[in-house]
Symmetry: D2
Subunit: 172 residues, 4 copies
């Protein structure tokens, strides 16, 4: 039987697209639908929730709270929730869910990317694939799934040097 | 801490490459290493085991037994085993593991593809990504991971019409 | 001012697509429109003419004559003609144009591919790009454009070993 | 017989790569060799000349003169010259060649891209393919080849709105 998953998009590197006139990558349109169309999704039905489209460095405290509350609310009506989020402040939103809700009614899995999907070599599709699978397999809780690794909040931080997420205190 | 995973390749559509002279797709060289190089694998260390490179329609009963015994043996020395296999006879090898070993010492996850990795639009990378993640999250047992779905043996069959795997008896 | 080009498709490797059920590459649907949509074409307006969709090894003498006559006729009403053709018998059609028409009213440029467009690594887009540019730059005549090379008929043959076209008599 | 072509790289959007730490596209390493390796080049032998790696908006008058003089000098020792250049100031360098040299000894063909090669959807490979073919087919002179169009200097300008090059005075 298919699981019903809510997919919340908030922006971040994963969704950045190229602006030919200005020559920069920015958060303008959502590429999540294109990514979803390129995957074979037999185990899940996905409800898309476009909450915001921001570089997470520009998120306000209210943004993090809105993301946490939305994820928690949807966890009660779905079999799981995936949140696509900029990696720079992903851990802030993850910690906010734990602080506000504790253990959600179903798993909440954050993901993002170090390189935009628009790039030929990108981790975006890998990470989205992993989040959509992890949300089916882990017990209720708050997680990040990226780079063939699932880590549980609290205590998850972005390791800038290694360009991925780690548990606080973990050595290389 | 990284998990140590054995990755057994046996061939199948996922590894088929194009022969310019004959104009056909066949199992000649392994493309798994190219696929692995395109993924960010932070949670696993992968030991590659090239067991055979066959279209599974050409596998003998001895081939299936060899695959099952190799997977079972490696499950005892690793944190998990992924087996890349042609989809046509994947379920035969999966059932063989259960028949010979019952519950292995660590999870054994089969995967494959409906379309060769060499094709621009292929499910190969999605399925390999999923198998490498699922093997970290499921309890010891025998599974197939493909198309955003993880199914446990026994009782898994290939549904030709829907072009994916299903549990025997499941409706669409 | 834009040139008006007729683009005749006849099939061949370049247009082969993958049949999941049978596991083979064959000429079923035309992928030329997808290829055209991925190019920026500022110098040409393209009229699509879907003449046939055949592996050229299966072309009859009548097929070659039909291709030659159609190309010659369209050369009189356009600024140039591009013919997408299987490479195995491409030279037969090229020689047929010269035999039937001599020098056409505008350039006729054949092209094809050694590897189907559906493959991740394919020469299809390169060759189509080259044919659409060459047809704007060469004087009236019959040519093949492929692999960064433009050769004029008659006297063009496929070199199986080097997997490209050469002028008869040319050494490596 | 193969033509010997000099390929001068100067940077520009076509060669921009993604910096994960800063999250921006910039000119750091040359991707031209990767692009060349993906093409089948039967008609040309390419001599690579890495002159500079700059966004053309940052080129000084001396840079334009250096590019023009280098191209003119190499045109005398090769069968043609291709110059990869940022599009914003490409026409400045093209006009500089005409001003300093008039008609070069062999064709000089400029090209560039509106979207970096690193992007999944990019005009970079199309434009490089076209420049490498055009340089074999046009008479000695100075040109830009891009977007299935070859235009001769002087009188070529970048049309920002249409995102391509046009002859000055040409309507849409």
């Amino acid at each position: 039987m298919k699981r019903r998953i809510a997919l919340i998009s908030t922006g971040g590197t994963i969704e950045k697209t190229y602006d030919e006139l200005r020559g920069v990558l920015s958060n303008q349109v959502s590429v999540l639908d294109i990514m979803l169309a390129s995957l074979e999704l037999r185990g899940v039905d996905v409800d898309r929730v476009q909450l915001m489209n921001k570089d997470s460095l520009e998120m306000s405290p209210e943004d993090h709270t809105l993301i946490a509350e939305t994820a928690g609310r949807l966890a009660a009506t779905h079999d799981g929730v995936v949140v696509v989020h900029g990696t720079d402040r992903l851990a802030v939103s993850g910690d906010r869910v734990v602080a506000l809700i504790g253990t959600p009614a179903s798993p909440i899995v954050f993901t993002g990317a170090m390189r935009p999907w628009e790039l030929r070599a990108s981790d975006a599709l890998q990470n989205l694939t992993e989040a959509l699978l992890a949300v089916q397999l882990v017990p209720p809780g708050v997680y990040v799934a990226m780079h063939s690794q699932v880590l549980q909040f609290p205590g998850v931080i972005k390791d800038l040097e290694r360009r991925t997420f780690v548990k606080a205190g973990d050595g290389p």
